[in-house]
């Protein structure tokens, strides 16, 4: 390492880091597009943008450091880089590059103390899943673990440090994202110990074309949202619940709403007593109770991002609006020109 670079790195690492509270306590992070430009925004609980940091391309999801005002923005799949952004200054602190032959796959999660970042990754040629491990002091690559499946997408850290991994099961072309194995794809939901050891895994042999992609925690259960790659005329659930140690359950909406989500859930969020999934393709959100019984459906085109604030839900759409979602209704909180991207990340 050059002496000057070393000193600069040292200085950067010693500079005081502002916390989320120091910069106005945003409630959420969300990527969005305005005109032809892409941004990562910090949003208040009422949907006001507190900051907007330019991104070099369309973002997918972000992972927020639990304390420091620092976030990792992941590019859309297949991603060859992720940016560690100082949300106080807007500066890019680090540019993360996976090892040769690997690609980021859209999501990541910090450890509870923020010292580690875990990223969903694939071996580019085979889509074999890996979980990359990074030391967040300098964002050095430590190691990677097998994700025990193909095409891992969202990873979610449980309160006790275990890691849930949605292995979507889809092998994709490393360059153009073409899906290569739809007839014999095999998604699973995997639970890893804090050290990466495989603890448990569930899959659905009767529904192998339902890609498990997004996760939320609902009490002791892992709520998982799915995207159906099979015959669009077959009604299949988009939500499942798994409490490790017990059998998973699938949460089927009423028959009249079997096709409302068009087989596609884009995001998921959970409060202690409700689970919400969004479908931009179906233009709807569905709310379920914590046992997986359907409670309500609300329609709005292109809804996708979803997160919790306290006991409530906030959802975002590609038309630029931010909504509060309850059993009764969607209520607009804010509307602007920024088209909100797939995910809304809660900072609470």
């Amino acid at each position: 390492m050059q002496r000057r670079t070393f000193l600069a790195t040292l200085a950067a690492s010693l500079a005081p880091r502002l916390t989320w509270a120091d910069i106005g306590a945003p409630a959420f992070l969300a990527a969005g597009k305005r005109g032809e430009a892409f941004f990562l925004h910090g949003l208040s609980a009422t949907g006001t943008s507190l900051f907007g940091i330019p991104l070099p391309g369309r973002g997918h999801a972000a992972a927020a450091h639990p304390r420091i005002a620092e976030a990792v923005a992941f590019a859309r799949r297949p991603g060859t880089f992720a940016l560690v952004i100082d949300c106080a200054t807007g500066e890019t602190r680090h540019r993360l590059t996976p090892p040769e032959g690997m690609q980021f796959n859209g999501h990541g999660a910090y450890s509870a103390d923020g010292s580690l970042l875990m990223t969903s990754e694939v071996v580019a040629e085979s889509s074999e899943g890996r979980i990359g491990l990074w030391d967040t002091a300098r964002y050095a690559r430590l190691t990677d673990w097998p994700s025990h499946g193909i095409g891992p997408h969202e990873v979610k850290r449980l309160a006790d440090g275990r890691l849930a991994v949605a292995n979507g099961g889809i092998r994709t072309d490393p360059v153009d994202r073409t899906k290569l194995n739809i007839p014999d794809m095999a998604p699973n939901l995997t639970l890893l110990a804090a050290d990466g050891t495989l603890l448990d895994q569930v899959e659905f042999p009767d529904m192998r074309q339902n890609s498990i992609r997004h996760l939320a925690l609902s009490g002791d259960a892992i709520a998982f949202a799915m995207q159906w790659e099979g015959d669009p005329s077959e009604p299949v659930p988009q939500l499942g619940l798994w409490t490790p140690g017990t059998a998973p359950t699938l949460c089927t909406p009423p028959e009249a709403e079997a096709f409302t989500l068009q087989g596609y859930a884009g995001s998921i969020a959970a409060t202690p007593d409700r689970i919400l999934i969004t479908s931009p393709k179906g233009g709807a959100v569905m709310l379920f109770d914590s046992r997986g019984t359907h409670v309500a459906t609300h329609h709005r085109p292109d809804l996708c991002g979803a997160a919790t604030t306290g006991a409530g839900f906030t959802v975002t759409d590609g038309g630029g609006a931010i909504w509060s979602a309850t059993d009764d209704a969607l209520t607009p909180l804010a509307a602007d020109q920024t088209q909100w991207d797939n995910h809304l990340v809660s900072l609470s």
Partner: protein
């Protein structure tokens, strides 16, 4: 006076495209379906021969609005309760078999609303009026209640479009929580055009088309009642009307529609049974390509003309 002034204000605030679709396409379309369904309900007979013409007319009318997957038709699964297709697992036939054997006294119109959507509506009636094999019980009570239920759904949707149309027309006004900007209503209708054409290409044509080695005319929508090609043609005509209502000055799109509609006419194969012949199969595949090309043309021509795009997230997928 005050009310009419308010209506005038509402009407003028929406973009012209939305107003034309609401008043010239959707509302008349649902009214026509309501009329046709009530005429079917007026036929005092259980004789399939006597019911079939009115059934066919109601089915024709539904094809005029089937592509509008927003508002009243999406509430309480109504569009599925009117036409449940495709049904690859045969859900409708199974649920209906139980209803056929039920005590007729238990068949009430309110009870029908609680039954499987797959057993109801036009596809339910089609199985009763054009049975492929002998029915296990006298179908008369079930025919009558299925027709009454269909007519009721039609009436509810036609009535609900009065208020839902106002929601579209008042897009962007204070108090309208459904459409926050006028162009959101436009975008919602434009999306119906694109997804409607996808449905024609992927399902109405795609399911019977199957593969070159394995055509499946029997899987066509309305095959039992001889409507396979009519459904394709009528939905293309309805979607053309939607396109022309949204953006009348769309020469490329309308020409693409006309080409596809001409190809459908030239098939001269009312139930698509000719696709088991390689020549016939290729002709239907050419029609499918023409419908896909019509969609691409509409997106390229009408989207920019209206200043809207298909959904940012719905088109992305992740």
């Amino acid at each position: 006076m005050r009310a009419s002034l308010l209506l005038l204000l509402l009407a003028t605030s929406a973009t012209a495209d939305t107003a034309t679709v609401v008043n010239g396409h959707a509302r008349p379309g649902y009214a026509a379906f309501d009329d046709a369904a009530s005429r079917l309900a007026d036929v005092e007979s259980c004789d399939p021969e006597r019911l079939r013409p009115a059934f066919q007319a109601a089915y024709d009318a539904w094809m005029g609005v089937e592509h509008l997957h927003l508002g009243p038709s999406e509430e309480e699964g109504r569009s599925l309760a009117v036409l449940f297709w495709p049904d690859p697992k045969g859900t409708g036939a199974k649920a209906q078999a139980a209803l056929l054997k039920a005590d007729p006294a238990t068949l009430t119109i309110d009870g029908m609303a609680q039954q499987s959507v797959a057993a109801r509506g036009l596809s339910g009636l089609e199985r009763l009026l054009y049975p492929e094999k002998a029915l296990p019980a006298d179908p008369c009570p079930l025919i009558q209640i299925t027709i009454d239920d269909l007519a009721r759904q039609a009436e509810i949707m036609a009535a609900a479009w009065t208020s839902y149309g106002e929601i579209l027309l008042s897009a962007g006004q204070t108090g309208n929580d459904r459409f926050l900007k006028p162009e959101e209503a436009t975008q919602a209708l434009f999306t119906q055009l694109a997804t409607g054409l996808e449905f024609v290409a992927d399902r109405r044509i795609g399911r019977p088309l199957g593969s070159f080695d394995k055509p499946r005319p029997d899987l066509a929508e309305g095959h039992a009642s001889g409507r396979a090609l009519a459904n394709i043609t009528l939905s293309l005509q309805a979607l053309r009307d939607l396109a022309a209502s949204l953006s009348p000055d769309s020469p490329k799109t309308l020409a693409a529609f006309d080409h596809a509609i001409d190809l459908a006419g030239a098939l001269n194969d009312p139930n698509l049974d000719g696709i088991t012949d390689p020549q016939g199969w290729l002709k239907l595949e050419i029609l499918q390509q023409a419908v896909r090309s019509t969609r691409d043309t509409a997106i390229a021509e009408i989207g920019p003309a209206l200043g809207v795009e298909l959904g940012f997230n719905s088109q992305d997928g992740d």
